[in-house]
């Protein structure tokens, strides 16, 4: 029997997707460089990337820095009939290239998409109730993802605003770190609320310049996802923020968390992009400064609070 779903990456999220697909009744092929956990009757671990070409739908569940090379390698064995979907919160390069754009340029595939929203690896693994959003310009891809993952405990919504969803997801990753950091600093709910809403407005502003739609940032990929972070859904970005607030050096944080966090790299790129294009993003820029250790929280807060208040 030919497998319908393939997963690249055997981290928490990769396994979460594999288990969800398994629960939905699909055969799953998985490839990972990590030491593997036990497969199952329906999840088959493969030794080489080309074997994944047997599936029509391929999920990329690896950190963004690995995606270009893996896509190029796998792309040698794919054609226009494959659907590629990533779950990364990352962006690439100084022009904030999204990962779906990377997939399009590194492989012959065009039917690509992104899976985002308040999906949590643990819930996917355990089959706890949850949901997310798949973005693709191709309804076939949206349907394939829904068919591959949806079940009684998992609701997948759809949109064609790929860039909007990808950048909202990136922005939420960054804001979730800010939430963790602010909580770690003992800031109160009002400050958090201002930070969340102004931060999301800044994300939407930049997202629109990249080609996304404003409403996407108020939906599941934007506010929906951010609300889950506020509810402390255990995502690694919150832990990174808390560790930064506790003064843990950046180099140690990765080891402590045990996961690659996209927000650290993205925040620098977004701040640079905003400076270069003149996009108004004071909060995101300050977050980048804090994450990079250029300013401390007191300086950042003073700078933000000292800004002139305008119309919303």
């Amino acid at each position: 029997m030919s497998a319908r779903v393939a997963v690249i990456g055997g981290g928490e999220f990769g396994w979460g997707l594999a288990r969800a697909a398994e629960r939905a009744g699909h055969e799953v092929l998985m490839w990972s460089r990590r030491p593997q956990r036990e497969g199952s009757q329906r999840v088959r671990l493969v030794d080489s990337l080309p074997e994944l070409a047997a599936a029509e739908l391929v999920f990329f569940a690896v950190p963004s820095p690995y995606i270009p090379a893996l896509a190029a390698e796998l792309g040698l064995h794919l054609d226009g009939g494959h659907f590629l979907v990533h779950i990364s919160r990352g962006i690439v390069g100084e022009e904030l290239e999204t990962l779906s754009q990377v997939l399009r340029t590194r492989t012959p595939c065009r039917r690509v998409g992104a899976l985002a929203g308040p999906l949590v690896a643990k819930a996917l693994l355990e089959g706890a109730p949850g949901g997310g959003i798949v973005a693709s310009r191709f309804p076939e891809v949206q349907e394939a993802v829904c068919e591959a993952l949806s079940g009684p405990t998992l609701r997948i919504y759809r949109t064609d605003d790929v860039i909007g969803v990808e950048f909202a997801s990136t922005g939420v990753g960054l804001l979730a770190m800010a939430v963790g950091y602010a909580r770690g600093m003992g800031l109160g709910p009002a400050t958090l609320a201002i930070m969340a809403s102004r931060g999301m407005s800044e994300c939407a502003r930049i997202g629109v310049t990249l080609g996304g739609r404003t409403e996407t940032f108020t939906g599941l990929a934007g506010y929906g996802d951010l609300l889950a972070a506020f509810a402390d859904d255990g995502r690694p970005e919150l832990a990174v923020g808390r560790a930064l607030a506790a003064g843990t050096p950046l180099a140690q944080i990765g080891q402590q968390i045990g996961a690659y966090v996209e927000g650290l790299e993205s925040s620098r790129r977004i701040a640079a992009y905003a400076r270069r294009t003149g996009a108004h993003a004071p909060l995101l820029s300050r977050c980048a400064d804090v994450f990079e250790g250029k300013v401390d929280s007191g300086q950042a807060l003073a700078a933000l609070m000292g800004r002139q208040v305008g119309e919303e």
Binding site: A72, D79, G80, R104, R111, R137, D160
Partner: protein
């Protein structure tokens, strides 16, 4: 019954020669015209039949849209058709499903008949012989005898053609070409038609605005050279469906086609940066439909840029742009291209210049944005061939899926403008305009666009202009070497002083307002509007061309971006 438009003039069919096997598909059009119209009607009817609500809506919408349009049109043509549409709207509620389908078939048939063009090989042969002469006669009557003897060398020098022409000739034999050029002037289709003919590329069919058919002579050539009529006044959804189906059917059957995917001439002078593709998108559907019925004829999209040192309708277009009227005035019927005197003046001026028009073809793409090799094979990013049929397959089966094809069309709509940008040929007038305009912006900080454009008479030392033109040209050369843009012949070969002189020379004598002129050792800005128009092609490169002193002005220009 209503007639949307008058019947075209055609020569008797029985006198025509039979097409040869290696002739392009269009040479067989006359024998296929009936089946093509039949196909269009069948498909459109199939699209709506069996869905009572959709059928009723499309008939109602067509009826009411036409009644509204014709009532406003209020002429002889309108009075013929108006009664019929009114009766249809009145009767619709009482019709049964069969009667509605009959009515749909009849209206669709009338529309398709009206849209469908004609191709007469005799007219094509005539055109290939007389077009250079006619063009020369229009442009410079006094030189006609001399040009006849010299094989129209001057005309040849006026329009230069660049790009992978030999490859396009080859691909035209393998599959169907869909030309998608930039659109700046009503001369575009004439220049393209002439260039295709000269380069021994096959003739193409294209949808020409109905207004171009009002002149009987032009109408005769248009009709008999494969152009089909697009009446932009008709807003009915059904008409758009018929048009789309016609265009798709033609590509499916292997007719090389031409579309201006920007839809309308770029009012601002900028190269189009966002495209919806419109009818050009039917190339994707045509490929998929062929695959679904087992026909594997490739479709090649060929982006091209049309680059003019001088634009016939520049004054009207930029006025329209600045008034914000570009969107609403989709059809301009009173611009320079409709005024014989202005056209003659334009050509007289153009003929004094060399390579004043550059048509540059880009590397062709398949419908899925992949480059193709000389054999027409689609290439993956790794350079290996990839089967284009795989893009229209789901679970291994080629399918017809309009939603999927809309996705591919959007991708093409983003890819083609990127090609336009790097295949734009920068002309000398554009670079000089850019440097002058940048200086104007630099000298007027804090001014808004309209405040700045009210200013006249700002002066710049000629030596400074030449130095800045030289520096900007050097930066353009570097961008060009990296494949980011192309340089026109004058910019490639001449000194900054000559470039400035030739720009001033090109601008004088045709435009009714002096764009810039010499005053001693200074250059005086006369018309910022036209300066803006000509410099707008350089907007994407403004920051890269700026010096430290002009960086702020360049940022202002870059931020003007906006819609083309």
């Amino acid at each position: 019954m209503f007639r949307l438009l008058s019947r075209p003039l055609r020569l008797p069919a029985f006198l025509g020669p039979a097409p040869r096997p290696d002739d392009p598909q269009i040479f067989r059009f006359n024998s296929e015209r009936g089946p093509i119209i039949g196909d269009v009607v069948r498909r459109v009817v199939q699209h709506y039949a069996g869905q009572p609500q959709k059928l009723l809506y499309v008939l109602n919408e067509a009826g009411n849209a036409e009644v509204r349009r014709l009532a406003m049109q209020d002429d002889l043509e309108a009075s013929d058709a108006l009664g019929a549409w009114r009766r249809l709207v009145k009767r619709l509620g009482k019709m049964n499903e069969d009667e509605k389908v009959q009515e749909l078939r009849r209206i669709t048939g009338d529309m398709a008949e009206d849209i469908a063009g004609n191709f007469d090989p005799r007219v094509y042969a005539l055109a290939t012989r007389i077009v250079p002469g006619v063009l020369t006669a229009i442009m410079k009557p006094s030189s006609l005898p001399q040009q006849l003897l010299g094989g129209f060398r001057q005309l040849g020098e006026l329009v230069s053609t660049e790009g992978p022409i030999e490859k396009l000739r080859r691909l035209a034999r393998i599959g169907t070409l869909v030309l998608v050029p930039t659109h700046s002037s009503n001369l575009d289709s004439v220049a393209l038609g002439y260039a295709l003919m000269r380069e021994d590329l096959p003739p193409v069919v294209y949808g020409a605005g109905k207004n171009l058919f009002s002149n009987p002579l032009i109408s005769f050539f248009m009709h008999n050279l494969g152009a089909y009529r697009v009446d932009r006044r008709i807003q009915a959804q059904l008409y758009k469906e018929v048009l789309k189906t016609y265009s798709c059917t033609m590509i499916e059957r292997g007719y090389h086609s031409l579309f201006f995917p920007g839809g309308t001439r770029a009012r601002s002078g900028m190269v189009e940066r966002r495209l919806k593709l419109g009818l050009a998108g039917t190339g994707v559907e045509a490929f998929a439909r062929n695959q679904a019925r087992g026909v594997s004829r490739p479709v090649f999209f060929v982006p091209a840029t049309l680059n003019y040192a001088l634009v016939l309708e520049a004054e009207t277009l930029i006025d329209d742009h600045l008034k914000g009227a570009g969107k609403s005035r989709y059809i301009i019927e009173d611009d320079e291209s409709t005024q014989g005197k202005r056209v003659r003046e334009f050509f007289a001026k153009l003929l004094q210049l060399r390579s004043a028009m550059v048509l540059r073809f880009a590397e062709p793409l398949d419908p899925f944005c992949n480059p193709v090799d000389d054999e027409g094979r689609s290439l993956a990013p790794s350079g290996r061939p990839v089967d284009p049929a795989s893009y229209v397959k789901h679970h291994g089966v080629a399918t017809i899926d309009p939603a999927r094809d809309a996705g591919y069309t959007r991708e093409l709509g983003e890819a083609i403008p990127r090609v336009y940008q790097r295949e734009t040929v920068i002309m000398w007038t554009q670079l000089v305009a850019h440097v002058l305009y940048r200086w104007l912006v630099h000298m007027t900080p804090g001014f808004d666009l309209f405040g700045r454009h009210r200013l006249r008479g700002h002066k710049l030392p000629r030596a400074q202009l030449e130095a800045e033109v030289g520096a900007a040209r050097d930066r353009l050369r570097a961008i060009s070497a990296a494949g980011g843009v192309q340089l026109g012949p004058v910019l490639r070969l001449h000194s900054p002083a000559e470039i400035v002189s030739q720009a001033l020379e090109a601008w004088s004598g045709y435009h009714t307002k002096a764009i810039a002129s010499e005053d001693g050792d200074k250059i005086v800005i006369g018309d910022p509007n036209l300066l803006l128009f000509y410099q707008n092609r350089l907007v994407p490169f403004a920051e890269a061309l700026a010096t430290a002193e002009t960086a702020a002005a360049a940022r202002t220009i870059a931020a003007m971006g906006g819609g083309a």
